[in-house]
């Protein structure tokens, strides 16, 4: 009896220790991902500045911005829906990050449980959270931004999911782990991106990815010159800092998802390298393109990327 109790407590202690280690690992992993995401944003600002023939800020500028924003006092108290929306907005991409194969970087293996349906649900939690918070704010620009963000979401989700579905049809699985295992790590011929007919789906999804990341020409929701930064109009101080962190996390999550599906991101480190490459391509287009009107953007997204991705999907299924 006594021994059983002792064994029970010992196992409880071990469980507690295990949970603690797991929590620490998760925290370290998410912290690392957000830091890499902020570094990407630093690259973005430097890159854009160089394209515009400027010196540009130092590459660690986003870290400074986040420290400054989180140290600010907030001028006005908001209601609890606003706070909840911001937490939801930050939580969505962080949860999504856990189910990408990147988590092997600290020895986690959540990604074995991550399938496409779960990830597609988690992917909209972040934008919806911020849309919720922005629609609570009093500014009419916020409402316009929310309307644009939701319609854009409808626009880019269709081609993006069609592209991913083509991969699912090819590999016959929804699990991310198996999708990445079906590709080679560094040989481009083994990537889904360069296999016929998946290349069509990949191109469609890649155009839609520009909208997923809300880079130009699909950044209608946060257009600072038209609608005073849209959904971010009521965010200031700590809220804006949270929004920057959310942006960093969702950059990693979205690019990571694309890399796993099309560029054979089989391990954590090579996925991160591919994320960098994808990001450089995205910001090259962002730096030189203008912005569509919302109706134009919607039409474009539902026309070309959708047609190409649908063609890829049909060819994959029937050919």
């Amino acid at each position: 009896m006594n021994t059983a109790t002792v064994v029970g407590t010992a196992s409880m202690g071990a469980k507690f220790l295990g949970a603690l280690v797991l929590t620490l690992k998760v925290l370290i992993y998410l912290f690392l991902m957000v830091m890499i995401g902020l570094f990407l944003m630093g690259i973005y600002r430097k890159f854009t500045a160089r394209v515009q023939y400027r010196v540009g800020p130092p590459i660690w500028q986003p870290y400074i911005d986040v420290i400054k924003l989180l140290s600010k006092k907030d001028a006005a108290t908001k209601n609890w829906v606003f706070d909840l929306g911001v937490i939801m907005g930050l939580g969505g991409p962080l949860a999504l990050l856990l189910f990408l194969p990147l988590d092997t970087i600290v020895g986690l293996n959540f990604h074995t449980k991550g399938d496409l349906i779960l990830i597609l649900y988690l992917a909209v939690v972040g934008p919806l959270g911020f849309a919720l918070a922005a629609s609570v704010g009093a500014s009419p620009w916020g409402a316009i931004g929310v309307g644009r963000a939701l319609s854009m979401m409808l626009g880019y989700e269709l081609p993006f999911i069609l592209g991913l579905l083509a991969v699912v049809a090819k590999d016959g699985t929804l699990l991310l782990q198996k999708v990445s295992a079906a590709q080679s790590m560094w040989n481009p011929a083994g990537w889904h991106y360069f296999q016929w007919p998946l290349i069509l789906a990949a191109i469609g999804a890649h155009i839609a990815l520009q909208g997923v990341m809300s880079e130009k020409p699909f950044d209608q929701a946060i257009a600072p010159h038209e609608i005073a930064s849209g959904i971010m109009v009521e965010f200031g101080g700590k809220y804006l800092g949270m929004m920057l962190l959310m942006k960093a996390a969702s950059l990693m999550a979205e690019l990571g998802l694309f890399a796993v599906f099309f560029l054979g991101g089989t391990t954590a480190w090579d996925t991160i390298v591919k994320i960098f490459a994808l990001f450089i391509i995205a910001i090259s287009f962002d730096a030189v393109l203008g912005r569509f009107r919302p109706d134009q953007a919607f039409t474009v997204l539902w026309k070309w990327p959708t047609i190409i991705a649908l063609l890829g999907l049909l060819l994959t299924v029937f050919a």
Partner: protein, 177 residues
């Protein structure tokens, strides 16, 4: 704690976001400071679209009675470590518009001004000098206008009441501070 505050002050000085709200003619000198000739983004200074996101409000030129109301609204919406820069001679004593029926001659009676740039207009070089000066002041913790505004609330509110003839009331019925 002190070191931490120093770090925070340093971060604040290297990341000044200014409100894209300009009065009068001084806004004309900001595009050269923003674009590739002087490029203020290398100091982390960026224009921001709304008062909620901004740290510093530049009063770039004459202040009319009507505009001042909007400036005060915008200033009180900004989150707390915030600074006011009076730009040009008009906000100092009225400048060439000193006897206009519309302008308010002295800005610092109504808002705590941290830094003045004299000139009509200050050139982009003076703007860059102003920004580096402001960065130094923030890093050393000398620019405390926002604290002064809270401590001397009666003074500023009394002056505003005397100017407008009534209290400025926000739409939700309370002041933002």
């Amino acid at each position: 704690m002190v070191e931490w505050l120093k770090l925070v002050d340093k971060a604040r000085s290297r990341s000044i976001w200014m409100l894209m709200y300009c009065t009068g003619c001084g806004a004309m000198e900001l595009p050269p400071a923003m674009t590739s000739r002087f490029d203020m983004e290398r100091f982390g200074i960026m224009p921001m679209a709304t008062p909620r996101q901004a740290d510093v409000i530049l009063v770039t030129g004459y202040v009319t009675k009507k505009t001042l109301k909007r400036i005060i609204y915008a200033y009180e919406q900004m989150p707390a470590p915030k600074w006011v820069v009076s730009h040009g001679s008009c906000p100092i004593n009225g400048g060439v518009y000193w006897d206009s029926h519309a302008t308010v001659n002295r800005l610092d009676l109504f808002l705590p001004v941290d830094l003045y740039v004299a000139g009509c207009m200050p050139r982009a070089e003076a703007n860059m000098k102003m920004f580096t000066e402001l960065m130094d002041m923030i890093a050393k913790g000398e620019a405390r206008g926002w604290e002064e505004y809270v401590k001397n609330r009666d003074y500023y509110k009394e002056n505003q009441r005397k100017l407008f003839g009534y209290d400025l009331v926000f739409t939700d019925g309370r002041s933002a501070l």
